[in-house]
Symmetry: C2
Subunit: 256 residues, 2 copies
C-alpha cells in the first residue's frame, strides 16, 4: 500500500524541496522504498538528488503528456531504495499544455497508479504556486505535508493553501487529508521564529509535527553536492531533524 | 521620465518582495516619487505596505482586465511619495484569464503608460514563476533587478531567468536591460553565502550591486507591522543596506 504525499506551499522558499529530498532519505534509511517526483520546473529536487534537469532527456513532464511510461523515466539515487522521477526542460511549458487537455487534473494520479505499488512512499515536490501542477499533485495525493517557514509572509499564505486543499478534496479527491505542518528554518535565537512557531502550534495543535527543522547551513550546502543531508552530513542537526520527521511520518502513516 | 523596474526571480523566497518594498522606501526617502505594483497573487508587497489583499476591492488585476483605470486602484502608504497598486483576490486566477487574450503580454505596459509619468520609479514585484504575469512585467519594464539569495538552488535558476529576459528582449521589449543583481540574505558567518557571493561577483562583475543585503531579522519582522524597514527599524542593518541599494539604483538610473 503506497502512501502518496504532496509537499506543498505556494509561498516561495519555505523548504518544500529540502523537505521532499531529506524526508525521502530519512524514510529510505528506515528501509522504506521511496519515490520522489519533481513537479517544479526549477528542477531543484532533481539536482538535490544528483540528477541535474539539463541532463534529463525525459522526465515527469513527458509522462504527464503521455509520451513515456513512468518506469521509463525513474532514476536511482545514491541511497538504496530512494528513486526519482526527475524534472526535464519540458516541465517549464507544461502548465499551459495541461490546461486545455481532458481530465487535466488527473494526469498525475493516472500515471502514479502504474508504479505506486512498487513504493512504500511517494513524495511530490510542488512548485511555489497553486497552479495546474500543484492541483495534479493534490489530486494524486492521499495527504499533504505543508512546510511552513517561521516568518510572517509564510503565515499569511497558509489560509489560501488550506482553502485550496479543501476545494480539491471537495471536487477532485475526496480522500485528501492534511497530514501535517512542519516548521522549517527555525532560528531559535530570533523572537520572530519562536513567536510564529508558538502561534502555529496554538492554532493547529497536533497537526503540527513535533519536530521543528532548525536553520542549519549543512542543509543549504548538501544540494551543491547532489546529496541528501543523510549522506552529505549525517551527524548534522539538519540530518537529525529529518530523521525525526521520518519517524513521525511513519507513525502518522500507521506503519509504526 | 519614469523608470520601470521588474523585481524578478522565479526561485521562491529569495527576497523579491522584501527588495521591492524596501528599495521603494529607500528611494522615497531620497525624494523620489515611487509606485510599487504587486503582481504576486500572494499579495505580500501589498500587506508589507499596509494594505492586506483581503481588504482590497480592486487592484492591479482589475486594471489588467480593463475593469478599472490605474489611478482608481492606487493607494497611498505610510511614506510620503510611496504609492501602491495592490494585489486583489482576482490576481489568483489572472494567469489563466490572460493567456487567451489579444496582446496578452502587453496589458501591463499599456496600463502603466497611463500613470508612469506621475512617478520617478515604478517597481514591479513578480511572483516566483516565469509565467504570464512575469512576462507582462518584463515587457513593461525598462530594467530588471534580480534579487539573488546566496544559496545553491538560487544560483541554479539564474541561467533560466537570464534566458527568459533575453527572449523577452528579442520578441517583446527590445529596450529591456539587466539593471543589476543584488545579493540577499547573506550571512557572512557561513562559507556557503560567502562562496556564492564571491562566485557571483566573479562571473557577473559590475552587474552585481556593491551593497550586499545581510540576513537581518528586522527585515522579517517589518511586514507583520505593514511597514517598510525604514519606518519599522530605521537604525537596523537592513535599513542601512536598502538605503545603499537605493543610492546605487539612483546612480545606475542616471539620476545621480
Ligand atoms: N532548515 C534549513 N536550514 C538552512 N537552509 C535551508 C533550510 N531549509 C532550506 N534551506 C535552504 O533555503 C533555500 C530554500 O529552500 P527550498 O529551496 O527547499 O524551498 P522551496 O520551498 O522548495 O523553494 P521554492 O518555492 O523555490 O520551490 C534553499 O537554498 C535551501 O537550501
Ligand atoms: N535580508 C533578509 N534578512 C532576513 N529575512 C529576510 C531578508 N530578506 C527577506 N527576508 C524574509 O525571508 C522571507 C522571504 O523573502 P521574500 O518573501 O521577500 O522573498 P520572495 O522572493 O518575495 O518570495 P516569493 O518567491 O514567495 O515571492 C520573508 O519571510 C522575508 O521577510
Ligand atoms: Mg522547491
Ligand atoms: Mg514575494
Amino acid at each position: 500500500m503506497s502512501r502518496i504525499y504532496a509537499i506543498s506551499n505556494q509561498k516561495g522558499g519555505v523548504g518544500k524541496t529540502t523537505t521532499a529530498v531529506n524526508l525521502a532519505s530519512g524514510l529510505a534509511l528506515q528501509d522504506q522504498r521511496v519515490l520522489v517526483v519533481d513537479l517544479d520546473p526549477q528542477g531543484n529536487a532533481s539536482s538535490g538528488l544528483g540528477h541535474h534537469k539539463a541532463t534529463v532527456d525525459a522526465g515527469i513532464a513527458e509522462v504527464l503528456l503521455g509520451f513515456e511510461e513512468p518506469l521509463d523515466v525513474i532514476l536511482p539515487t545514491e541511497i538504496d531504495g530512494l528513486h526519482l522521477a526527475p524534472a526535464s526542460g519540458r516541465l517549464v511549458g507544461l502548465e499551459v499544455e495541461l490546461v486545455d487537455t481532458e481530465r487535466r487534473e488527473y494526469h498525475l494520479q493516472t500515471a502514479l497508479a502504474k508504479v505506486a505499488d512498487a513504493y512504500d512512499f511517494v513524495l511530490l515536490d510542488c512548485p511555489p504556486a497553486l497552479n495546474m501542477l500543484t492541483v495534479n499533485a493534490l489530486t494524486a495525493a492521499a495527504g499533504v505535508i505543508i512546510p511552513l517557514q517561521a516568518e510572517y509572509y509564510a503565515m499569511e499564505g497558509l489560509s489560501e493553501l488550506l482553502r485550496t486543499i479543501a476545494a480539491v478534496r471537495k471536487s477532485l479527491n475526496p480522500d485528501l487529508e492534511r497530514t501535517g505542518i512542519v516548521l522549517t528554518m527555525v532560528d531559535p535565537r530570533t523572537n520572530l521564529a519562536s513567536d510564529v512557531a508558538t502561534q502555529t502550534r496554538q492554532v493547529f495543535g497536533g497537526e503540527v509535527f513535533d519536530v521543528t527543522i532548525p536553520r542549519n547551513v549543512r542543509l543549504g550546502e548538501a544540494p551543491s553536492f547532489g546529496q541528501p543531508i543523510h549522506t552529505y552530513a549525517p551527524g548534522s542537526r539538519g540530518a537529525q531533524a529529518y530523521h525525526e520527521l521520518a519517524d513521525e511520518v511513519l507513525i502518522r502513516a500507521g506503519v509504526r
